[in-house]
Symmetry: C2
Subunit: 430 residues, 2 copies
Amino acid sequence: MKILNNPSSEIWKKSLERPVQKAKKINKVIKPIFKSVKKKGDQALIQFAEEFDGVKLTEILVTEEEIKAAKNQVSTELQEAIEVAYTNISKFHTAQKQDELVEEVMPGVICRRKSVPIQKVGLYIPGGTAPLFSTVLMLAVPAVIAGCSEIILCSPPDKEGNIHPAILYTASLVGLRKIAKVGGAQAIAAMTFGTESISAVDKIFGPGNQYVTAGKQRATNYGVAIDMPAGPSEVLVYADDSANPAFVAADLLSQAEHGIDSQVVLVTNSEDFAKKSLKEVDKQLKDLPRKDIAKKALKNSTAVVVKSRETTLDIINNYAPEHLIISVEDEEEVVDGIVNAGSVFIGKYTPESAGDYASGTNHTLPTYGYAKNYSGVSLDSFVKKITYQKITEKGLKLLGPTVEVMAENELLMAHKNAVSIRLNYLKNQK
Amino acid sequence: MKILNNPSSEIWKKSLERPVQKAKKINKVIKPIFKSVKKKGDQALIQFAEEFDGVKLTEILVTEEEIKAAKNQVSTELQEAIEVAYTNISKFHTAQKQDELVEEVMPGVICRRKSVPIQKVGLYIPGGTAPLFSTVLMLAVPAVIAGCSEIILCSPPDKEGNIHPAILYTASLVGLRKIAKVGGAQAIAAMTFGTESISAVDKIFGPGNQYVTAGKQRATNYGVAIDMPAGPSEVLVYADDSANPAFVAADLLSQAEHGIDSQVVLVTNSEDFAKKSLKEVDKQLKDLPRKDIAKKALKNSTAVVVKSRETTLDIINNYAPEHLIISVEDEEEVVDGIVNAGSVFIGKYTPESAGDYASGTNHTLPTYGYAKNYSGVSLDSFVKKITYQKITEKGLKLLGPTVEVMAENELLMAHKNAVSIRLNYLKNQK
């Protein structure tokens, strides 16, 4: 991890640039997968499971028995932890519910706006060695609270044809019933086109490898929405001398262990603090099981020492970090200056991992600079807001002439006529 | 306009399918435009203005003088109409503001969520014969209410190098100051990459021809967000015998005059009503200046006669119309059954054109079936919601063990360690 001491804006901008993402090659791989799933449905999914997951599936959907059995395979300790997280995430996402808005903008002109659940949603949970049951909570909890009428979860099976029990347990706890043993781009294709076992959905959520994320991008060509564009995970820690270098190091490492492409940035007003933190990073790194990954991620990472608060905010808002940890004395003042970030962790006892798992906020966040123009997943992600208007006779008499003049000036006479014909009718009635 | 009497679901699904959109050819045209604007900035914009708009520009940005002069060219009648619309749209969009959400999910674990304006937004307003000043209101009003720090409006100049005075007047009324004489894909490229006169923006809004919409799609490859995917405009009218066939015909025509690819659908429980309405369509069509366009649009349009309420709701929700007019006796019952629509117009005195211009709702709406998974433009479109968490010592003691267990089970030991190191520190302090 290199230290930039009081760099010019050209230097820090260059140093904090994200790596370019290349998708062409991957698109070549997933195109025939999409084609095959569209044409052959479940049969294609079974073929791909054999090819990619090394398992001959007889059933694509997880059975009630499998779900029941999963519970016994999850330790009580983990069950209890998941339940605490579930409660917190439910509370914070339930609090995001919005009442219907009703506004009479003029006498007799009533506008409304209501959140209506997206009907069919698909949640993708990656497989691999680590079971990402936390992501099940982050996606399924708001989907259930929003009231989506159909929720399907796809996750790749292991070589025995099973989905990890912690994933099944969590899905079942939240109330999901439709869980499919399908991974990779074929899962995304299945949720895009529908198969015998899997419904076509309106929106697809969830993280995944490059095939999954390219698959999600491809799904958008078929009218499916996705949660947000993908990119490697990242954290920016802003700390001053009031922070604890060991805590800061632990936070940097918890991001670095995600993957070799993880982005880790430290911004501080003190060179001494930067040095202490990096020393702590080296010390803590040694004991980590995923130290090889973390080491590679740290190689591309930067510590920036900068005195001016204005420049600091410039750096943070320009970088627009997915995760922003603020561990400085005047933390709330800094919070007020943040305009671009996914989720913000305030104070020295708020590690990113708290939000990754259990504080209640969502961990599906915009990365790769998308925090400038996208929000993280929330209850909003599972609804659309429909507007309504109801105009009374009185209201139309009041508003109609305005519409007539505007329509006429936009040369849309049929638009004008839709008002005039009603106003004439009302006049003739009298 | 053909009538389908009590069709099977295969028949109505087939008949209501949207036309396929083809983008490949257009992408070939806009690719070099993007390249040129990226490389040559303003110089490219001036070249393209000469090539596509037939005008030699000396200045790209509209001057204060031009804005002042515009006011005198807009009739008092139109100024007053625009002001009424402005007031209604402002009221309804201001009512969409959300307070910061603060939720203490556990003692010492405080989660927050706040709307923060997207900093830089670009609004595109098409040129052509009709000045779409109404779209200026629909995009600029929420941008200003949201508090976006930089708002740029692009619109193509006419052959004299001017933007229509009604557009300038409206933009100025709302408070915009940066207006550029740039149209087409080059405007989108300019807002994507930035030029000497035009800032690169975070999100681009607005309608346009196929070059503009393909340009917006291309902009998303460079990290820019867009309001929503594009498609031809459409209306579905659901009416029973309580409705007025002349009103219904006027509404169908006001959609049909938009363009030859406009989609117009009538759903009714009465064949007699369908016939009366279509007769009225023929009658009113004759007097319309844009009758040739409307005629072509109506050729591909369908009236569906269906008795069952359940099937009716099925048809509407499957089609997911951009505009839905409900003119039936039990209107609110129908409204409750609608899960997919952009904006809903309730009752016989609520023509679509009221919402197009002045009722207060936004007219930038999801079309082409995207009402299933996208909302129309609203205040939300100009903000992102950032989450925050602050955990106290007490909070971390309470929540920390949960995070440790979950992280360990996801095999992310550095995530666990970020909590453990803090809990150990707190323990040792005692």
